[in-house]
């Protein structure tokens, strides 16, 4: 029986460390830019998922679990709950389900900023997309049957 030689992927590791942050930052940008520019919860979520996948490819699953102790399955549930909660909250004020509101506020540092209830809804979408992409891929990848 041959002993498997553990390869040392220095290049991959180093690049991953750098690139991941760029991708993550880009995904966060996509997420927030969604309302006025191309992007949104879905794309941002997929982008985040690909960043995380890159990390899973670069490092092994065990250390990734240590670094990112998320339960992606519950992430799906949390995302769905947030999305539904934003929808329900409008009902509390006597509006139909999923009525969205927006208002402009003068915030320190950011200046005039638009705050909208579509954002938490998009956050829900974002969490669900990240959750499902990683759940599916990790479940299949870890399967050794």
């Amino acid at each position: 029986m041959k002993k498997q030689i553990k390869s040392n992927d220095v290049m991959l590791h180093t690049l991953t460390r750098v690139v991941t942050f760029i991708i993550l930052a880009f995904s966060v940008y996509l997420f927030f830019a969604g309302h006025n520019n191309p992007g949104g919860g879905f794309i941002g979520g997929l982008m985040t998922a690909s960043a995380l996948l890159l990390m899973y490819l670069g490092f092994d699953v065990k250390s990734m679990k240590k670094a990112l102790p998320f339960n992606y399955t519950s992430m799906i549930a949390i995302g769905l709950l947030i999305a539904i909660a934003t929808g329900v909250s409008s009902m509390l004020f006597g509006y139909p389900f999923l009525t969205q509101f927006f208002e402009y506020y003068q915030l320190p540092i950011l200046g005039e900023t638009e705050l909208t209830t579509a954002l938490p809804f998009d956050l829900g979408v974002y969490l669900v997309v990240v959750g499902i992409a990683l759940t599916i891929i990790l479940t299949i990848a870890e399967d050794d049957a």
Partner: protein, 806 residues
Amino acid sequence: MTVLHWATISPFLLAILIPFLYKYARPIHTGWFVLVLPLVLFIYFIRFLPVTSDGGVIEYSVPWVPSLGINFTVYLDGLSLLFALLISGIGTLVVLYSIYYLSKKTEQLNNFYVYLLMFMGAMFGVVLSDNLIVLYVFWELTSLASSLLISYWFHREKSTYGAQKSMLITVFGGLSMLGGFSLLYVMTGTFSIREIIASVDLVTTSTLFLPAMLLILLGAFTKSAQFPFHIWLPDAMEAPTPVSAYLHSATMVKAGIYLVARLTPVFGGSAEWFWILTIVGITTLCWGSISAVRQKDLKSILAFSTISQLGLIMCLLGLGSASLYYGFETETALFFTTATLAAVFHLINHATFKGSLFMTAGIIDHETGTRDIRKLGGLMTIMPITFTISLIGLASMAGLPPFNGFLSKEMFFTGLLRASELTIFNMPTWGILLIVLAWVASVFTFVYCMVMFFKTFTGKFKPENYDVHVHEAPIGMLISPIVLGSLVVIFGLFPNLLAYTLIEPAMAAILPNLLAENQVFHVDIYHWHGFNTELFMTLGVVLIGTFIFLMMKKWSKMAIYLKERDPLNWFYDHSLSGLISGSQFVTRIQMTGLLRDYFVYMCVFMILLFGYTMYRYNAFAIDTVNVTGIDPFMWVITIMFIASTLVIPFINHRITAIIVVGVIGFLLALLFVVFRAPDLALTQLLVETVTVVLFMLAFYHLPELRKESFKPRFNIVNLLISIAVGGLVTVIALSSAALGNEANFESIAEYFIQNSKELAGGYNMVNVILVDFRGLDTLLEVLVLGIAALGVVALIKLRMTGREDV
């Protein structure tokens, strides 16, 4: 609910109690409890005789489903009363007979009496209800109860076969009858027979007249065992003999007769009704009597004899309906009513003598252990009472004086002879044939009666033929046949007892509107009516019949004599097995279990449906006006797109195919870019990446053993179907674009463009639509994704460990 309603459904109520009576009153034969009911009902119905003989009718209605015009209306006139008396009267005698026939120790009496009472109640419902739907409900209940009774000894294969056969045939007829009733409703707007007869003009002038008539007749013919639907009756002889006596001679098989008689005022007077009834009746008469001669089993002889006699009655009803053609020319019309008179009279006579004959056959079976006429013989001195009753019954059936069968047979001939004088319906041409056929049938009737009599009672008694000690039946078993036998004699000697009590009111019900106010049909039945044609015909029947019987040794060697089963059974058996193998054949073609075949069916169906629709509505349209100049860049992408799509079927390696699919996905993203959809392009890119990763994972997990690179099989049919689907979808897309332009609808996009910023505060219209205008779609799509992820987890993590059952 009046007393009459309660009387109609009382058998059902008693049937509910029977299991308790059977369980808690074990020492007493359950039949004794049952016996009371038909007796009381008989006495109750007898009390209506004065009412109906004065031409009165009784009608009570209870709403059942009033919104649909379905009411439980009981209607009592001469015809209903006649049948009600037959049902309750013979019911009483049959129950009494069954008490001695069925042992309380070995038989499941609770089942028997529940079924029997169910049948009795259903039969009352059929003859007493005025509403066609209620009539139909009770009609099917008689079929059901009959099947249950035939399969009473359900462990015998022949019983279940007979039950299934009678069920299939009678329910087939019943359902078509329902269709006929519905057509009557369509024509007249009511289910009430009274009201339909009152508005008969609507029926006779309607184009639905013939379909309704044929469908209803199908019901009547199957129930009354008319040719060629008679084949169930001989197989129904597997039932216990009381059942055969009650259902298959006196009551149920006459339900069809009742229906025909009841609806004669609606359909009668038309040539179709006349000819169908007459021809079917006369065919059944001949077929039944000729088949009966071949039988070796007492009950089979009686079964075919019943078939033949029912044919006779049916034929007479057909002949009698001719008088309605003449309508108010009363003198001419009344001349032809003899046939109806004969039908009603023979109906009563047949119930009496056939009931008694079945009972004696049952006694012989019960006391000797066999019904085979080849084994029986010489019972005259051993069973004198049974012998006497049989003699009376057989003589009456054969049509010998002084019994009632003679009278009805004479009237049958009279009716035929008079009908042959009709100048309508082509009668002058064909009438003589009817007379000849009827006469031949009478000869054979005479022959089988003689066969039955001489083979059973005369000759030498051979004790070795029987397994049991042969002796006369107990007196209790003999009471019922004695009563029926006496009725045969009484009605034979004093036929006019019935004339104005039962027969005339029944005729008035069958042929209403024929009589003027306060006028009655002239009913005078007498034995001696001079030397006329009828008498000579009867003499001929006796002479030829005797001659044929004496020559029996000769003709009984003929092959046809040995063929006991009706040849028409061949058709029934083969169509039943053909139905099974045919449906199996279709199932094998259609349900292959291969997904690719189902996919082919779906595609072909889609092609045919859409293609036909487009052809039918002439929806092909191609509009080149709105096609703007195409960018060369688009050409390049499109050609690459098409090229990589065309390559896929020719790729032999999975991994290559996956990569090419990925290429197509990226080209699609590029197309989105070209068409200015940045969100879509981004999503498409990312999704394609993730999908390819998933494909690779799935490829990695393909099982080791079957890991083979395969070449997709080439199949010309699949190619054609694919081309057709693609072409069709292209044509539909082009046509809908062209037609859409033509219709010039305003797009909703304008609204989103204008209001995206004002109402939702966002410039990215796609995202605004996704999260704001149509946020519910997004919410549910996200839910779909979540469910898919959970599904993957469940499929992979929760694997079954081999022995678990699903």
